[in-house]
Symmetry: C2
Subunit: 99 residues, 2 copies
């Protein structure tokens, strides 16, 4: 079953609610870069996201080097962004270090 893709005004509304995230150039994914104090904190964050991601069966694409994590969220089954990305982005925001 296809998952509904967010677009138009609904997508704009969602993005306005996720100020830490930017839309990828192709408009099909959102990206957030996070910086932590050190590798221990960065990987601790990744572990919490990993457990949540596997629980809801919606996984990030992500890159890590030392204290830096770049997360990309998209929904392949929707060929773009869906509510699943919004939910995982909100979870990630709840773990992000204060800036």
């Amino acid at each position: 079953m296809a998952i509904e893709r967010l677009s138009g005004a609904k997508l704009d509304e969602v993005l306005a609610g996720l100020p830490g995230w930017s839309l990828r150039e192709d408009g099909l994914a959102i990206i957030r870069e996070l910086k932590f104090a050190d590798f221990n904190e960065a990987f601790g964050f990744m572990t919490r996201v990993a457990i949540q991601a596997d629980k809801v069966d919606h996984h990030p694409e992500w890159f890590n080097v030392y204290n830096r994590v770049v997360v990309t969220l998209t929904t392949h089954d929707a060929d773009g962004l869906s509510q699943r990305d919004v939910d995982l982005a909100s979870f990630i925001d709840s773990l992000a270090p204060a800036t």
Copy 2:
């Protein structure tokens, strides 16, 4: 203190001993892509590497999406490859799924 950079015949010898890895185009890093059964296995692998990496204070650059992990190893303090990369690569090889 600068860490000795591997080069020349020594580098060739090291690379011959790490057949799963390829030298990055610029010659300053080695890269290995690993595929696992699923996200649980992939992230479990990453967790084991993370604990080892932090213990020896030598961290990978890596990308993950679902069951796929791409690891890049380099030693910034050596401006290239060092024994630290060889050691971490060997540890990673010991955890890699049979191909």
